[in-house]
Symmetry: C2
Subunit: 419 residues, 2 copies
Amino acid sequence: MKAEIITIGTELLLGEQVDTNSVYIAQQLARIGVDLYYKTTVGDNRGRIAEALRLALGRCDVVITTGGLGPTADDVTREAVADVAGRPLVLVPALLTHIESLFQRWGRPMTENNRRQAYVPEGALIIENPVGTAPAFAVDLPQGTIICLPGVPREMKYLMEERVLPYLREKMGGRTQVIKSLILRTCGLGESQVGEQIEDLMQCANPTVGTAAHAGQTDVRITVKADSEEEADRLLEEMAARVRERLGDAIYGTGSETVEEVVVRLLTQAGRRLALLETNTGGALAARLRSVPQAEQVLALAEVLADAETVAARFGGGEEAPWSSPSAAVRAAQELLARSGADLALALVGSMEPGGDPYTARQGVTQVALATPQDVAWQTHHFGGTGELTQRWVGTRALDQVRRYLLSVLRSQGLPKPA
Amino acid sequence: MKAEIITIGTELLLGEQVDTNSVYIAQQLARIGVDLYYKTTVGDNRGRIAEALRLALGRCDVVITTGGLGPTADDVTREAVADVAGRPLVLVPALLTHIESLFQRWGRPMTENNRRQAYVPEGALIIENPVGTAPAFAVDLPQGTIICLPGVPREMKYLMEERVLPYLREKMGGRTQVIKSLILRTCGLGESQVGEQIEDLMQCANPTVGTAAHAGQTDVRITVKADSEEEADRLLEEMAARVRERLGDAIYGTGSETVEEVVVRLLTQAGRRLALLETNTGGALAARLRSVPQAEQVLALAEVLADAETVAARFGGGEEAPWSSPSAAVRAAQELLARSGADLALALVGSMEPGGDPYTARQGVTQVALATPQDVAWQTHHFGGTGELTQRWVGTRALDQVRRYLLSVLRSQGLPKPA
């Protein structure tokens, strides 16, 4: 079953409101395996709504609309559906009674235009709405089915779950499926590198594999359609195993996990405490770590120094620009380890162009050193500056360095692989 | 100029991501008076993207797409545009140089699929993207113009503002207009009552007038298209004046103002302090008031009692159910006024069905009394219970009662009307 959602409301086209209704409906459709092919948004215009409906019926089996069912003159969804169906609007006495009883209860006058809400296209299936005055309804046409829901999120959600999903399940004759996704989150590789590793998998039809990049990380999304939750999970896991085989430790987690959450979890599992020294990231990295509830127990110390020169002056290193070689970062990390009593110490020493970001032409560098009682390792990142995106990218790379070290520690201890 | 936005990405159809890109683009188009007629969302599917593009070109002059310009195999926007344009994809050396220089700077290997990002449909206008690797481009066709932007919000926003708006302005030959909206917020009237008062205004073409209801309030949105900001503001104000004439004090504010903000402002202006006693709203009303920064200075006391019976037992009144008559609420308000030393005291005494809401069949009632040194006034609301929606509705009605009282006080003092 192919579906299209049509959200109706001029406010959506003026950018005054974010459309969350269609997100919810999309999630619900995925739950029963209905393929959502298109979403369309159209204003409160009878002709354009009708046109969008005709088009949707031409390319999908089920069309779900939200909005335009209120009592006022700008609510014209029911008229547009009647136009498309070629049927008149008819008064449904039961709907009128429902609306009248509500107004009577509230002790409020019922206006003439409230009566409009009791009209639906002839032959429509009434979807009773106990949580509002706007009625919902479905119209079965030779080309497909139109289901009209109110735009008020509370009412739409109630009707979608309680009425529409059961209706669609029945329509599918018990042959409902499920569409599920699994997201593998990677860091340390660019989107193109990730894509190259799994290019053949990205050609598969079911599950499908796609990538999305954001702020220095790349997500791999696996989506499957199956007859049951169990089969879906099995197919997802099979494909995830193939992706893991290719990308290995670049995958740091699944679902909505963040790198900082994983690092805090690994620190806890390994019984290690981290000390941190930042320059150009200006405290952003410490803030990310502290956003994780358990961070307090594993973050021994977090310092921010004004700039790389201050680091070099205090700890030595960096004959020329202190970020041009790792020596200042290395010495800072070693000193921090000794002074803090932590088990590992991370120092970020970077150039300080204000607003510098990974895409600007100016050459920025950030040196990241990680000191442990055994040794010190460093990485050089060829972007620096104090721009938000740099802080994010460098921070993620630095966390990734800690994460990979902790994985090696845990493996050497024979602990089960935690990802 | 008529426009359509096409957002591209399977994740949007799975309900995994809220589409905020199109909200931003819609706002920007309104700034220069481009009429946005449709928004369409389509997955990462070359054929369906091409179909959506053809359709959009058939009904609009300009089509703006976001997404699908990344380096990986599931990014197929450029191929789909080439299909629709009937032109091959060609390598643009300058784009390749830009991408190569970024990878060189980062010291990262450039993969073969990064080269894909340097291809655009033959004859396309390159929209230089200094803040990312994905190039943007525009293709002029006899049917209309396609503008392709990356899906990364940061890049999309930058390019929209810095490149696309100037391009569209030039395309419109300096004849840019502006689309502006003004929202008048009402409370105390239902949407149908508001609609009835302004039904003729809702038939106007420019400005347009529409209504939207949410949680016991009704907004009136006036939208205008004009040659300049000044003209737009003038036309908006003219129509607003007509709406105000009809709806009077039912309009409590404009823009994003809340009733509680207005009440706190009026209390401050009138130099009055409010005491508050709640039952079935369970503290929700106090919380709404306290969410306003200046509330501390004007909220003398806020109490919550367990239920209406407790109110009756303490203050008397309510022979039968204490919410069936206003007497318990009235006495509670009077006692509260005396005890708190405030200038006005508001008491809400309602029935307590858990989850009761204004639409359920059960009969609920909430009595609201407002005591001042001069007198006490009460209102009976025919919905009760402890449901979130009831708490919202009753709270708004109670705030409205305070608001209208304060308006009369301020007017009697000859102060300028504050709304």
